[in-house]
Structure formats: C-alpha cells, structure tokens
C-alpha cells in the first residue's frame, strides 16, 4: 500500500533552516491540503517531501522506504509532481509533454514505446482534454496547461501525486475544474498532497488539512476541526467566519 510519511522532518538549508518537526502521513485515496500564509515554508517542505532538497533532520518515507535510498526513477514511479503553473518555454505538443511522464518507466537510452503513447492518450482522455493532444502547449490557456501537467502525472502512474498550488493563477472556472479532478483522482485511490491559499479549496477536496505557520505544522486533522475562525485568524491575522451550509459543507468568508 502506498503511503508517504514525514517523520519529524526538519527542512531548509544548512545555513538557513526553514522549518522543523513536520510529521505527516497520507495514504491511498486521501487528500492532504497544506494551508499557510506566504513564506511559511510550504514550498520548501514540498521540495523536501519530493526529495529535491535533502532533509536537515528526520526523514521522508515512501511505502516505508527512506527516499534517500531510492533512485530518481524509483521515486518518480511512486510519486508524481505537478509544479505551479508556469509559462512553457518550448512549444511541445500536449502529447509530448504527457509522454515525459513515462520516462521513469523506461531504460536510460530508450524512446517512448507504443504503450507509452497509448497510456498518454488515455491520461489526456481521462481529464477530458483528448482534443488537446496535438496542440502546442505555449498556446494553451493556463487552465488547459495545468490539466495537461495533471495528465502527465497520471501517465507517470504513481500512486501519489504532489501538487504545488494547482489552482494558483487560474480563473474561477479552471479552479473548479482542477479541484474536481483532484476529487476524482482521490476516488480512484490516488493519494494526493496539495497546497493552496484558499481555505474553501481545503473544505472542497481535503480529507485532512495541515495548517502551517512559520515553518511549523501547528495543527493537522479533518478540515472542519482544523479550519476554524479562531485558527485562521491566528495564522493569517484576519477576521473570518466559517459557516456550515445546509448540505454539511463549510465555507469561509472574511468578516468586513
């Protein structure tokens, strides 16, 4: 069973520690939402979870194995990464970009196989963007490009997907589209870790929330318990109210 665990993780740089004592555990079908103000260390924690930065203490386990013991390809087969939306530099087709998710499954000197191409088409179709396959990614909208990158994570066939602010810089419709894909992926049994700036996104998709402040995870648990008017005021320094709707969902709105 796939599970990512952080044990008493200290993260940052030797001369510039960012945070410590981060402990997390996410398994199949769970969605962990990481919430915290700008500069609280979310991105650094993510980079450490992904194995892009060495931990300054503690460890990251993927299915019980220390990530430092795993090769890059082995890590990529267990954990896919959806970076923040950014402008594409080279005009790859969407299919070419999704195909790159398959590289961890092939040998050092290989090219993509027919299977890889079929899997990539399937990943695009799963996200409802099969029609974009031959389109130039530099000419796609931000939301379309983000979905293409999610398709790449699907093609990577990893049981865990880490998303760094997948809704950042997307318009409202695209935010909803990306979040509903997150829910569908979790329903398929994929474990997901994502960061966001919007408590409502956590209410919408998360099975658990980790609230971060100044490099520490100050609370972690189910969204309705962690995200309260009190805790949000403490972390963000603004007055908000959290209300439970008739259908049991919560929403958060600022108190003007």
């Amino acid at each position: 069973m796939m599970r990512i665990e952080a044990e008493a993780l200290a993260f940052g740089y030797p001369e510039h520690p960012v945070g410590r004592d981060a402990s997390l555990s996410i398994g199949a079908g769970e969605v962990l939402c990481l919430l915290g103000p700008n500069g609280c260390g979310k991105t650094t924690l993510f980079r450490t979870l992904l194995g892009l930065l060495p931990p300054q203490g503690g460890r990251v386990l993927l299915s019980g194995e220390d990530i430092r013991q795993l090769s890059r390809a082995e890590t990529a087969r267990r954990m896919a990464y959806v970076p923040q939306a950014q402008a594409a530099i080279f005009p790859y087709t969407a299919l070419d970009l999704v195909l790159m998710g398959r590289i961890a499954h092939r040998g050092m000197f290989a090219g993509p196989t027919k299977d890889d191409i079929a899997i990539s088409h399937q990943a695009l179709a799963d996200l409802g963007i099969a029609a974009l396959a031959e389109r130039d990614v530099t000419r796609l909208s931000g939301g379309q490009r983000q979905l293409v990158i999610v398709a790449r994570a699907l093609a990577q066939a990893a049981p865990l997907i880490v998303m760094d602010e997948p809704t950042a810089s997307l318009d409202f419709g695209n935010q909803v589209r990306v979040l509903s894909e997150v829910r569908r992926l979790a329903d398929r049994g994929i474990a997901i870790v994502l960061s966001t700036h919007d408590p409502d996104h956590a209410f919408a998709v998360a099975t658990s929330v980790a609230l971060m402040s100044e490099g520490r995870i100050i609370d972690c648990g189910i969204p309705n318990e962690v995200l309260t008017a009190e805790s949000l005021r403490r972390v963000y320094g603004v007055d908000v109210s959290v209300e439970v709707l008739a259908d049991g969902r919560s929403i958060c709105s600022p108190r003007w």
Partner: protein, 336 residues
Amino acid sequence: MKRGAGALVIPALAVILILSAIAAMTIGAYPITIDGFASAIARLWSGASAQTPEERVLLNIRGPRVIAGILVGASLASAGVVYQGLFRNPLVSPDILGVSAGAGLGAVLGIFLSLPLVAIQGLAFIGGLATVSLVYVIARAVRGRDPTLVLVLGGVVVGALAGAAISLLKILADPYDQLPAITFWLLGSLASTRGAEITGALPAVLIGLIPLILLRWRINVLSLGDEEARSLGIEAGRVRAVVIAAATLMTASVVAISGVIGWVGLVIPHIARMIVGPNFERLLPTAMLMGASYLVLVDVLARSIARIEVPIGILTAVVGAPFFLWLLWRGRHGWS
C-alpha cells in the same frame, strides 16, 4: 507538428543535402558537367586512381571540402540544438560556453608559435575543452544561484578573457606572415581542409553524437528545467554534464578543422524547430541535415561570389545577424 509528419521532412532534407553536395562538387573555378561528374565518381568509386583533372579536383579539393562542410554544419547545428534545450534559452549557441573563443585561442597560439597544422588543430581542440571545463568549475564553485545563469555568465567571462588573449597574440604576431593566417582562421574557412584533417575530426564528432542520440528523450525532459526533470525520474545533473561534454566535443573538433564559423549553431536550430517542433528525436536529425546543406551551399558562395575567397564566417554572419534581429522582432513566438 503531428507525430509522423516529421517522417517526410527528414528524407526531403536528405535529398536536399545530396543535391547541395553535387552542386558544390560541380560549381567552381574549374566547372565540371554533370556527365563528367558522374563518370569521374564512377571511376573513383571503382578504386581507380585520379587521372583526369576532374577526378583530381574532386578527390583532392572539392570532395574533402564538401565533406568538411557537412561535418562542420551538422556538428554546429546539433550542438546549438543541445545548448538551446539545456539552457532553456532559444537564443544561445555553441559560443555560449566560450567553446569557440577557447578553441580560437588555442589555434591562434599554434599559428603564433609557427607550429604545424596538426598541432594547431590539437591546440584548438584543447583550448575549447579547457574553456568549458573552466566554465564548469566556476559554475560549481558559485553555488546557491541559478546554475544555468552562472554557467552562461561564466561562459561570457571566460570567452571575453580568451578574446583578450587572442588580441594580445595578434599584436605580437608577425604582421606579414602570421597575422593574415590568424585573421583568416578566426573568420572561418573550409578552403584548406584536406582528407587527413577530416579523418582526424570524424571520430571525435561521432563520439560526441552517440550520447546525444542515446539520451534524446532525456534531453527533451531536461528542457523543462532541473527540478521538473528530477521529479520525472532523471538524474538531471549527471545527464546534463554528459550532454554538454558531448556537444562541446563536437564543437571543438570542427572548430579545429574549420576555424570559427559563427551563427550556424544559432540560426539552424531555430529554423529546424519551426519546421518539426522542439521534440529532440526529430529536431536533432533535422538540424543536422539542414546545418550540413546550409554550410555546403554557403561555402559554394564563399568561393564563387568574388575573385578572392570570402571567409565563410563572414557570409554566415551576413545571413545570421539579420535573421537574429528578425527573431527578436517577431517576439516570443518567433522561435517556436
């Protein structure tokens, strides 16, 4: 471009290259008819020694020159494709790491010391590799910054130093004998290329080409940047080092036989990318074939537009500089 459509481009470019080569062998101060060319090639192919003037011109002068043009054009274009992808910057070229300047310094030193031709080439080669190694050491030493930026700036700095050293040698060189040779070499030319030089450079070019072909898919992924490439399962640092070493080996080996021919490594990768897109699997062969044809044809111009031979580097600059400006003018999508 759709998958598969590139399949037509490559054979078409191969045909263009063959036609360019035939044109280059027949056009010149001693014109050869197509019939004469065909019968001379048939006789030489069967192993006969060169007897007619046609055969001697083909075997000793134009043949090596055309082959050198193919080798140099293909190598500079593929190195350009690699550097542009790896540095994630469509405006860089083999000159970016100071390869050309370093190789130039080596060759100028050889001419200054009146060394034989083989030694001049050897020094050019050593100069090119030494510059890149130096740039690489600088980049490793300056940690904690954007590694690509440091690499590029290191290349500019080391290239400028090599340029200063070249200027010093030009001042000190004998103005009647050495200085013209240095100047001519720095402008680039295929005029003095002979068979022995080609057989010297060919293995190095092939050794550089093999990793580029084997790692073609990984080179694509590296163009997304290091973090993304690593998260996709690639040992980015190691692959990048191998690929840069390979591209540099190719550049330094051809600069050693042709002198400094600028712009090819910038212009050709762009045109190739416009035709087949950025996927390295199609881009590499396309750029190689285009670079080869381009240099063979420009070399025909170099030896036929004026009574004296025009250094080929001047012509590639005359074509390349306006093209570069056009790219800038077209803006962000200009190189796509």
